[in-house]
């Protein structure tokens, strides 16, 4: 333990603790801006400076470790003045039109200005307004709000290894943009939205589609159908003021009905369906000598990544559509037929923890009639929160209700799709029983659970040991892709998720997602699974009925029409627009 004094109060903390954390442990929250748990400490904003007795300059508390006998003052006039000045400087180059910003009241810069009591701008604004990039279906980049904290680059470069965003130029005209200031759509961006998720201000946001949803909800010709992804039920609560890890499945169903949706369904249903199709595809590939390892295909960011960076491994991808798109196709095909509605008058909305789902919904492959998108709008959890707030719903006091049928009966296997390792575990529960023709003794595959980036386990299928792996983040996806390319992959089946933690850490989840928060959501997900009566996809009676009534058999003719797809090498677009690079 290290003994030191913070504001004259003796404290002791573990060796290696930063001043910032030492203060926090002793109930003093030093203001920060660029700092974000899980990301690299860059000490770029300089807001968290403190005074150390005996040192002339001020030091950043985020990057300085405590030492024995240190005397730290966190609030001297010199410190306060420095923090204020620095914040004022940031504001000179930031579009401070806060009322007209989606991050209003949810902005770390605004919060900082508020804490420091910034009242008048001492320094004039030098902001040069630049065009906004909203030329893709998923993300909007507004450079005028960017404060160059570098968090987006950190996730894009180090966690996702795509490195689309970089610092261009230097000094005051430094910018964070893709190469040559091009649109994100012109680059190899997967639209994973991790950049948006860590942006402290409103410089990168999901493309807001709430207005489209309001329009549809109030269009009398339209029947509105909504689906809710597995990970949403453990995170929407946070968006609406509840604790991290709150399970709000029943409240979501009630809220969606209050918003006016005609059919309130659960994506968990098509997650179960995915397991049936994908499980059978795996069995087929293993027994008939298909391309192995087979790779999961429910994550659209991962699909874009493979299509762009590893076209060689496209044959390894499962041909199953994602649960979102299976749902869309079934809604506008099977369900439209069943209820006797013209699919053109159905409006399918999905609530997703994801920004890439917006991109996926727009893909031309995802129109089973070749014309109309199967999913009309994919909203993030944050956007659903917006709808609920706009409507003035008191979410916390809402009673629970059930999802509608037929796409409301689901299993625990589907629920765990929301976390890394979940798709694998759900698949193994089914594949094991189908192949071995005996019930599993233990349903929990604990080897593939948890937030470790690269997990593996071995299962006995039909007498043979089969190795499977689970990865999340594109940095880890790259590792398995390289193995496959080199022909050294020892696995038969690999689950890949783009975002850290899988969908619970998705780019469309409430702000403030950290490892700690992911862990809470993950635990909630397994709690949901544990409480389910049915925990294996192949035991879902509604799924059995769907095959009996409609699809006939897994991987059959109709399955191929509605539930499977194909992939293309994704080439860089010819730039439609070019900014002049920030050079001197």
């Amino acid at each position: 333990m290290i003994n030191l004094k913070i504001n004259n109060i003796p404290v002791s903390v573990k060796e290696g603790t930063t001043i910032l954390n030492a203060a926090k442990q002793n109930n003093i929250k030093i203001p920060t801006l660029c700092n974000y748990p899980d990301l690299h400490i860059n000490s770029e904003c300089r807001v968290c400076v403190v005074e150390i007795e005996g040192r002339k300059g001020l030091v950043t508390s985020c990057s300085t470790q405590v030492r024995e006998g240190m005397k730290i003052i966190t609030n001297s006039p010199r410190v306060i003045n420095a923090r204020k000045t620095i914040t004022e400087l940031i504001l000179t180059n930031h579009d401070s039109n806060c009322n007209a910003c989606a991050k209003n009241m949810n902005c770390e810069l605004q919060n900082l200005s508020n804490i420091l009591g910034i009242d008048q701008a001492r320094f004039p604004s030098v902001l040069k307004m630049e065009p906004i990039d909203d030329h893709n279906p998923a993300l909007v980049r507004n450079p005028n709000r960017c404060i160059k904290c570098g968090r987006c680059i950190d996730v894009c470069k180090n966690i996702q290894t795509t490195n689309i965003l970089e610092i261009m130029g230097r000094g005051q005209s430094m910018k964070i943009t893709p190469a040559y200031g091009k649109y994100l759509s012109d680059e190899s961006c997967t639209f994973c939205g991790q950049c948006a998720s860590v942006c402290p201000v409103g410089a990168i946001l999901e493309k807001d589609e709430t207005d489209k949803v309001w329009d549809a909800l109030h269009d009398e010709r339209k029947r509105t159908i909504v689906q809710v992804a597995p990970a949403v039920r453990v995170s929407l609560g946070e968006e609406l003021g509840l604790k991290a890890g709150s399970i709000v499945t029943g409240k979501i169903a009630t809220a969606l009905r209050l918003l006016g949706f005609d059919d309130v369904f659960d994506t968990d249903f098509t997650a179960d369906l995915t397991i049936i199709e994908e499980g059978n595809e795996l069995i087929k590939r293993v027994t008939e000598g298909g391309t192995l390892p087979m790779l999961t295909s429910c994550c659209p960011g991962w699909i874009s990544f493979a299509e762009t960076y590893y076209p060689e491994i496209l044959p390894n991808l499962s041909t199953c559509k994602s649960p979102q798109q299976m749902f869309g196709a079934l809604a506008k095909g099977y369900y439209a037929e069943k209820i006797g509605w013209d699919p053109e008058n159905l409006f399918v909305v999905s609530i997703m923890p994801c920004t890439a789902k917006k991109y996926e919904a727009q893909r031309p492959e995802m129109r089973h009639d070749g014309k109309h998108p199967d999913v009309d709008v994919a909203l993030t959890v944050r956007e659903l929160g917006k709808l609920i707030r706009q409507m003035g719903i008191d979410f916390e006091s809402l009673p629970d209700s059930e999802f509608d049928n037929p796409f409301g009966i689901t299993t625990g296997a589907a629920a765990i799709f929301g976390t890394t390792g979940g798709v694998m575990e759900a698949a193994l529960r089914t594949v094991y029983e189908v192949v071995n023709k005996k019930p599993l003794e233990k349903l929990d595959f604990t080897d593939v659970r948890g937030l470790k980036g690269f997990k593996e386990t071995t299962v006995n299928l039909g007498g043979a040991d089969v190795k499977v792996a689970v990865v999340h983040t594109l940095a880890n996806a790259r590792v398995i892709a390289e193995q496959i390319k080199a022909g050294t992959s020892p696995y038969a089946f690999i689950e890949v998720m783009t975002c850290p933690g899988g969908c619970i850490g998705g780019g469309g989840q409430p702000y403030g997602t950290t490892t700690e928060v992911r862990q809470k959501r993950l635990e909630a997900i397994y709690k949901v699974d544990g409480k389910m009566v049915i925990r294996k996809s192949h035991e879902n009676p509604a799924i059995t009925k769907l095959y009996e009534e409609y699809l006939i058999e897994p991987l059959g003719h109709l399955s191929h029409e509605y539930l499977h797809t194909h992939y293309h090498q994704r080439k860089k677009q010819k730039p439609k627009h070019k900014n002049v690079m920030a050079t001197y």
């Binding site: 904003c45 300089r46 320094f123």
Partner: protein, 419 residues
């Protein structure tokens, strides 16, 4: 007062690219002696000499050497910082062009003492001539067994590569320089870890200024104690000065620490051109303080410079006569830093732009008393909170001018309506 020519003794007397000339003038005697010494004794000699970094910060060289010597993570690197880019500094250029082998020898001695096997000389891209001279000298040293494997028939391996800058002043900052050698933009890293633990390619690294290296052969030859007799007790040895501006004889001069600025300007530089009056002198280059004529008896040593909250003892002296306006000079200085800021940290990135706007107001006589407060506060905050030496030292000229030339600021406040 006369020059004390120690490390400049070969200037213009030998053919700089001739190894023979170098050897004839006691060249490589330091290394030869060092190779027969215990490694630790070399560092002890340097400690006894109390050699301090000549790039400006004045950090004791032996502490860096000891730090590197202790590291066990191999390979270890020695970097010569020849990214001399500060307006008013050209003494490193003189060393590189006029006595390049001394720099190579110094690097080799330090490598031997610390167990480093790889060296880089990072030369600013603008110094094309110095670069070609260095290339030639490295080649010759390699051919004659002064670099490469088994130097002078010992088991000691060391070689040096040249890396060129590409137009960025901030790359003179040690971590920015390391990033640049790694092929990246020159943006500094968060310390700790310091370069001695995790430097270039995350390996232990020591970075020193060109002039620091050039001192090592001398120290080994004469002995640390003897060397320390030169200069003052805390600023030992000699210093190369870059004298420029409105003096009769500008150029590079070598003096013992402790002489006065006035003596340098008048005895060595021949006084002010056309015998005009001195308005101010900028010390250390753009990031140094501006001082008025009455301060010229100030002694040149590390301690005096620190009084100005300036780390700069790089040895530039720019004489500015009474024809010039303070705010024109400050404007040029601030503009330089605005252009060279890497943009990584807020105070430096946004601060210089605001400093420039404020100085411009004083220049145009449009300033208010509030502007004076803002300027003073901003300059101090930048000095105290910037991430690297650039932003920490760039406001020095403004801070010093607020002290010594405050009247001129007051004069420029647009009286009385803006008060």
């Amino acid at each position: 007062m006369k020059e004390t020519k120690i490390i400049s003794r070969r200037f213009d007397r030998i053919n700089p690219v001739s190894l023979d000339d170098y050897l004839k003038t006691e060249g490589y005697t330091g290394l030869t002696k060092a190779l027969k010494m215990e490694r630790i004794s070399i560092i002890e000699e340097v400690e006894a000499s109390y050699l301090r970094g000549r790039g400006g910060a004045g950090f004791p060289t032996h502490i860096k050497m000891m730090g590197l010597a202790k590291e066990t993570n191999l390979p270890k690197y020695i970097i010569c910082n020849a990214d001399e880019g500060e307006p008013g500094n050209f003494k490193d250029k003189a060393l590189l062009e006029k006595d390049p082998f001394a720099v190579i020898e110094g690097m080799t001695i330090m490598a031997y003492a610390t167990g480093a096997t790889h060296g880089f000389i990072y030369i600013r891209g603008e110094y094309q001539e110095a670069m070609s001279i260095m290339h030639e000298c490295l080649k010759k040293a390699r051919e004659e067994g002064y670099l490469g494997k088994g130097i002078r028939n010992t088991k000691f391996d060391f070689d040096i590569q040249i890396r060129s800058g590409a137009g960025s002043y901030v790359c003179g900052e040690e971590f920015a320089l390391i990033e640049s050698i790694e092929g990246k933009p020159g943006r500094t890293r968060v310390k700790p870890p310091f370069p001695t633990e995790k430097g270039v390619f995350d390996k232990p690294t020591v970075i020193n200024n060109v002039e620091t290296f050039a001192n090592l052969p001398v120290i080994i030859n004469v002995g640390g104690k003897e060397y320390a007799k030169m200069g003052t007790p805390t600023s030992t040895g000699t210093k190369l000065l870059s004298l420029s501006g409105n003096v009769k004889k500008p150029g590079v001069y070598e003096i013992e620490f402790g002489v006065s600025i006035r003596d340098v300007i008048f005895d060595l530089g021949g006084g002010v051109k056309n015998d005009r009056k001195i308005k101010m002198v900028q010390l250390g280059g753009a990031c140094g303080p501006v001082i008025p004529e009455y301060m010229l008896d100030m002694m040149i040593d590390y301690e005096r410079f620190e009084e100005f909250e300036s780390k700069t003892g790089s040895g530039a002296i720019i004489v500015i006569d009474d024809r010039f306006d303070l705010f024109d000079i400050l404007l040029k200085t601030v503009h330089f830093f605005e252009h060279e800021s890497c943009g990584k940290c807020v105070p430096c990135r946004e601060g210089h732009t605001q400093l420039e706007l404020l100085i411009r107001k004083f220049n145009k006589k449009e300033a208010t008393t509030k502007d004076l407060d803002s300027l003073e506060s901003l300059a101090r905050v930048m000095h105290q909170t910037s991430l690297c030496g650039l932003g920490q030292t760039s406001p020095t000229s403004i801070i010093a001018s607020l002290r010594f030339f405050r009247d001129e600021y007051i004069d420029r406040i647009d009286h009385p309506s803006n008060l």
